[in-house]
Amino acid sequence: MHSKIIYFVLAFFGFIYTYSLFPVFSTGDGGGLITASYLLGIAHPPGYPFYLQISKIFTFLPNGNIGIRIGLLSVFFSVLSLFILYKITLKLTNKPILSITPLLFLGVSYSYYFNSVVEKFYTLNLSIILLLFFIGMKQILFDKLDKRDVLFSAFILGLATSIHHTALFMTVPLILVGLFYYRDFLKVIPHSIFMFLLGFSVNIYLYIRSLKDSFSAAHKADNLDRFIAIILRKFYGSSSSLDAPISAIATFDGFYHSIKNLFTLTVANLTYGSILLSILGLYYLYKLNKKLLLFFVLTLFMYGFFLAKITLSSKYNLSTAYVSANQYFLPFLSFICITISLGVVYIVDLLKKLQLITASRTFVFSIMVIPFTTLPLTFISTNHKKNWVPYYHSKGLLSIMPVSSLVSTYGDNHTFELWYLKLVGRYRDDVCHITTHYYNTLSWRVEGCKPKQLYKPLIPEFFNGELVSLSEKNKFLSTVALSKEHPLSAIFYHQPYEFIFFYKEKNKKDQEIQFFDKLNQEKFKFLTPEVCLTHETDDPFTIEMCNFFSNSYLVVASTIKPVFLLNSQKLTIDADISYGKFVAPFKLEIYINPLNASYIEMYKAIRAYNKREFYLYEEDR
């Protein structure tokens, strides 16, 4: 009976994660990954071919929409990871009930929950890492190197190059295991290299799909140089897969921040108590098997301190907390959860030795209950069932576009969501969508405007390079406000239109004010900013989208002018919109009057509702 409880626990997590999925697609990379998967294309570097192909199977499910089906993949691997975690702990303790402890702690932790309900590859990556750990651990427990396991691990590591490169960190602890049994290990190395290459061959996908001119988020891999560039993520410059770890180990700079930030994120996810239990757990491992302790500590080091040195070595801020801390450290948290359960086993054994049976049972019960006390809070902030923000944000953007016009975007949130809705959902596919990866360049990616032969007859100005002509026809729009560093700012200024901008020629400023005022009022009905008052989450990207969305209320309010300007209160908006280091002005003049007062109130309501602190970056932490 005890061994069956695990299935109830897994079912419980499977159900609540499924319940908490975004209705269509998640913020950030979500839309881009779904698009690449659905079109069997290439996602942002390293392209994630294995993830894309596995998620493609899920698009064939008969229920829901294409977005949420791929979301189910995250849930699937999340539950699978919990199961492997159980198997690891069971192997170490041989105690079925206590082996559920790490699942409970990890399953309700903020970061794990969050990554289980977004369209991303982190739970798949975790399953791979835990599987490799399990194989490594098995060798030590049996005190014998199984050649087959070595070959299989090498194959899985090769495969891991097509998911997320952090899985490759497992190479180091696995080599350590090999060194424990070096005679057998040396013999199997040449064969292992072959198996690694066999696993790596999944990346052939990138080359073939590039030849097929399928969708690619950043660049194609149609020759050796570009293939290597995409695999090594050279696109990201100093953050590429080779440069980042090399620069991390080359210097001690940021060492303090790495440790501090790692501690912060561990405590935020697993509470202070977990640290104490973890230390006891490591002591338990020391007693159990010293080789195993070494393997475990090295794994913790790779996924903890080493990864933190690469990704968390700057001062803790919202960006680090959201992008790095929240996503990359699932393996670290998982291993910490194993040590927690070992700590629990140690205490239970101690209490039993002292013949304190009731105390030991009470202790186990209390430990099992603790995670459930944090579950309501995690559930509230990471339950995205009502989070229609990314969907309606992108839909609103396309809905207000003139037919067969041009829209340019910059940044993940605007770009990926449009890709999903336009390329997967085919909503308003008459709009030609182009995007740049860097704010101050004009090297457009035209994935949202392909094939050329279909778009050219409808928007010939763009293909003939006549952007000014497009602007004259009021058909050149963008999500990007122009700072003086933007190359187009020499010719154009940005005219606010709901929550995006028309690009207009500078020398014709203020000529069409009435036209824009009318258009802003007429098209506002197609927006759904009210979803920003019901999403209930603390997701920073959702909040960022809502802040953009709320601007539409101000823009419309600015177009509704009273008959007598003198009698009304004037509100001057002189704000900035930041794009990394670039800052663009956002200026409006609003004459407050009974006709536009409700818009201003809605703006205030959305801003107030979205003044939420991200769980991993609360100021008091």
Binding site: F60, G64, I66, W388, Y427
Partner: protein, 198 residues
Amino acid sequence: MIDLVKKITILLLFLVLSLIVREIFTQREFINIAKNQSGLNAVKSYEKVILSYVPFSPYNQKAVEGMINICKTLQKEDEKLYCYETLRSDLIQIRSFYQPFSNILNEITPEIAKLRTNQMIEWEKNDYSESDFERLYKHQLNLLNYDNAPSNFWSFITVISLILWIISVAVAIYKNTLIGTAGFLLFFSLWILGLFMA
């Protein structure tokens, strides 16, 4: 191995069932909301019902019919376009091996092309006139009929072959080198072929 496949299948079925439960409740919630709405607000509620598609659910038909009725009654062309575009996109987003309500899609596509063309001609700064209608209509229709998704058949072959060649490698390592190697060669070749064909 069979035990593992069994467990994975059960997990997958359980998750799909969980999703169906969630979707049914969502459909019921928004179909009821839509009853008390009209115009674009009702369109947005029906949209949520369709996006939460559950095969054989009676709410699917109700939402599609409800949305079509609204699309037909809307007077302004831009609202009509919004309505039809929403319906088209929602239906495309729920496609799987098959396209639910494909007849509706075929019905509304020319209507969307017509509305888009009218909007292009009416756009103040465009230098198009009624004489451009046929030409623009044809281009819009071409765009609407263009299918950018890879072939369902070859996509399925590709991903299944991938899984099978990975399993074959595991079989070759742990169980039977000959069967595993043969399986690998077969499925790897099929995978490569699928990538080219899809």
